[in-house]
Amino acid sequence: MAIDRSHIRNFCIVAHIDHGKSTLADRMIEMTNTLTEREMQAQVLDNMELERERGITIKSQAVRLIYTAKDGEEYILNLIDTPGHVDFNYEVSRSLAACDGAILIVDAAQGIEAQTLANVYLALDHDLEVLPVINKVDLPSADPDRVATEIEDVIGLVAEDAPRISAKTGLNVDEVLEQVITKLPAPEGDEKAPLQALVFDSLYDAYKGVIVFCRVKEGTMKAGDKVKMMATGASFDVVEVGYFGAGQFLPCDELTAGMVGYMTASIKNVRDTRVGDTITLANNPCKEPLPGYKKVNPMVYCGLYPADGAKYPDLRDALEKLQLNDAALQFEPETSVALGFGFRCGFLGLLHLDVIQERLEREYDLDLVTTAPGVVYRVHKTDGTMIELTNPSNLPDPSEIEYMEEPMVDAEIMVTSDYIGAIMDLCQERRGEYVSLEYIEEGRALVKYILPLNEIIYDFFDALKSRSRGYASFDYEMRGYQQSKLVKLDILINKETVDALSFIVFEGTAYERARKMCEKLKGNIPRHLFEIPIQAAVGSKIIARETVRAMRKDVLAKCYGGDISRKRKLLEKQKEGKKRMRQVGNVEIPQEAFMSVLKLDDDN
């Protein structure tokens, strides 16, 4: 089956969250009759329940569309949907590397946002041809002329004939399809050359094993080929190759240079097929792998514990299953005096953590207790060695520590000028280092700061939104490590350290955090028969204290005409409440107390 490369277009859609990426993808699928109406489910590409609910794309997806253009020719359009969040930046970059062009969607009312810029620069970095599209022109507040000017001024793309569409109603979406053919380039490559295919995602299937999503850059791949993964070194016999129907995998004879598709090879573990790796033939390898591969490392760590200790094996099974599909998720067993058996898990970022936690709770029906998320600190010891610290409990004795480093990010915040002051205050409070402030147009500015990662993993997004009344958008990129004065804050309840509540904090903000934690805990620990001191300590120094006073009165109301069932119910409720408590020393701590300290700033 010979497919003319000039009749293929491989492209993706980049946009700020909520600017209509998935909706446009759906319209394009619909207009090319790739799915019957019955099969059409709103937002076909986001097929995880969670993705649809949150309006974000977590896994890359791809779909092949057959489009008959105005020139009467049939074209194959491979649309690759990329994850839309900074946590998945690396995956985004690999998905982009699998494309030759990109559609840039900008909301006709909101204009360019921080993420728009980050994504479009990423696309330009990969030498993609970018086709701007102005969406949501049907909104009353739409101002497509202004947005077109903005695209030209800020990004430097020609936007005068950018299609002005409504992905929701389908208005002018045909124009987008037509411009994909006329403006985006066809792939290049030589099907006779040694195989060189880029892995841009993978998926675990219970029957087929790992399904590897790839873009063939050079050469040909077909069933029976013996292939080798150049980075991991694993080799496999290809069982099947094919392309992406909407929501299904359609086998075909071969994948040739320029094509986007999948291959299966009875692969048991996604770890062997890392995103960014290059597939080549074992007996006729290409000279060098495709550029850009890197092993992704978790940025954020936290402890996950089953609320019910007996569910520990279930949690392990669930994590293992999720890991089959998510090479970035890491976990190892850990134990906590307060919380029992659990796992220290590593995530790409807070959203990734959130998504995993929610999937564990929903898809695996687990009730979890999470410890405060932390970043990876570098501890340089006096003996010259360095350890990467992911669990505060493992911090060496201060006398053995020469100095510590923490990860920093380059942050870009796009904000309307009314809120610049508020946003700069926020960054300052979060130990930000001011870099620059650029007005990108009348009334809007791009604020750049260097921020410690650990200051943005808690509640930075929420604070940003509330201080700008929702008018700020935010993006960041890892910058590297920087020396910092960090201390471990321990919480003592009734004089006993609760390991699950320890965390690493900047020395200058330790007092403030300590005070807030103690206050929060006080409100969440029920009174006992004795007084319970709640203390926060750095080393042996107590820096904050609250007291839960002793319980003195706990009586039931009268017995109504011998109806004792109410009494029994109240007593049972009391007893039931005890069961869900965690015992530390002789104090019973409810699970909510552990969770409450994750949200210290709710009252701001």
């Binding site: 409100g523 706990d554 009268k558």
Partner: protein, 383 residues
Amino acid sequence: MEYTLSLCQEIIWQSKRVFGRVTSIYIGGGTPSWLPVKLMEKIMDTVRDHFDVDPLAEVTIEANPGTVTCEAANIYQSIGINRISVGLQSAHNDELQLLGRIHTYDRFLRTYEILRQAGFENINVDLMTGLPGQTPGKLIETIRRVSSLRPEHISCYALIIEEGTPFYSRYRADDIRQKNGQPTMELPNEDQAYELMKRAQHELIAHGYEQYEISNYAKPGMACRHNIGYWTRKTYVGMGIGAASLIAPACLVPQIEGEEAGGMGLEQRITNIRHIYDYIEEASHLMAIDPQAQIEDVPIYDQVQTITRKGAMEEFMFLGLRQNAGISREDFYQAFGKPIDGVYQDALLQLKKEGLLETREGRIFLTEQGLDLSNYALSKFLF
């Protein structure tokens, strides 16, 4: 009128179902003193005609201040009601208003006088602590005013805001604040409520009342027998809407000569249907039903709960320990054939260690602190 007829039908029917001597009668729930005295007379006559009532039985009626006339009081006396429980709650009109009561302290005084004149020699007055805005001074004034009247019995309950009551919705915001340890607007916080409860206790004892249960105080020998029946798991038959019963197989009329009644030998807690029209409707069919019918065939029963042996042990403990006198090891053994120290070893040891429970001369009882924290202490006896 119609309801009274239905109630009498139930009384007659129940008298054929259960047997045994009646040692106390309690007419309560709502305000039975609103009922025309003629109807009350009919109810009491029906009970006496069909049940074996002990001539010395304690017969109590609940009354609200201002609902009892001289005539009614005299008739109550003549039909054998010998104890009356008056729901005063507070001797301060502003507090009564907050509680949504329509009476005043003056009206209470008049009612009390009427009752004494009619010859009632056993009067209970209900009081409450922990009312919104209640200061220790006002509470003590209430207690002094009431105890100077020398009622034989005083019940003193700590106000508890229960979900679903109008009070709850009104003070909900406060209640949540209290749970979070924040200052409250009007309701006393936990420490203040404790203070009020303790002040009331000391004041009542100083006036010659003995505390015999968490919320109940009486002059020597005047403890409420009916109440003690609840705490010691005596069987009782509740009749009328929403009435609760504790029925042991041994008090059911045997079905066939020689066969053990009740089958399983387990006790049952029964609640009648709560809706008045349903009750009237179902009670009208009652006469056609065999008094020995299976429990599920009794139409006026709403809920029937069979008490397992473990359930009975739990009740024995969490009801019995509400009394200052506590429970006796011997009684436990008699009831269950097992030593209490084996069954509840851990709970007893822990509570003893915590200073909430003591054992003396074969009795097990909560200490003063244990009674203050009874919720906590009693929950330890649930399996």
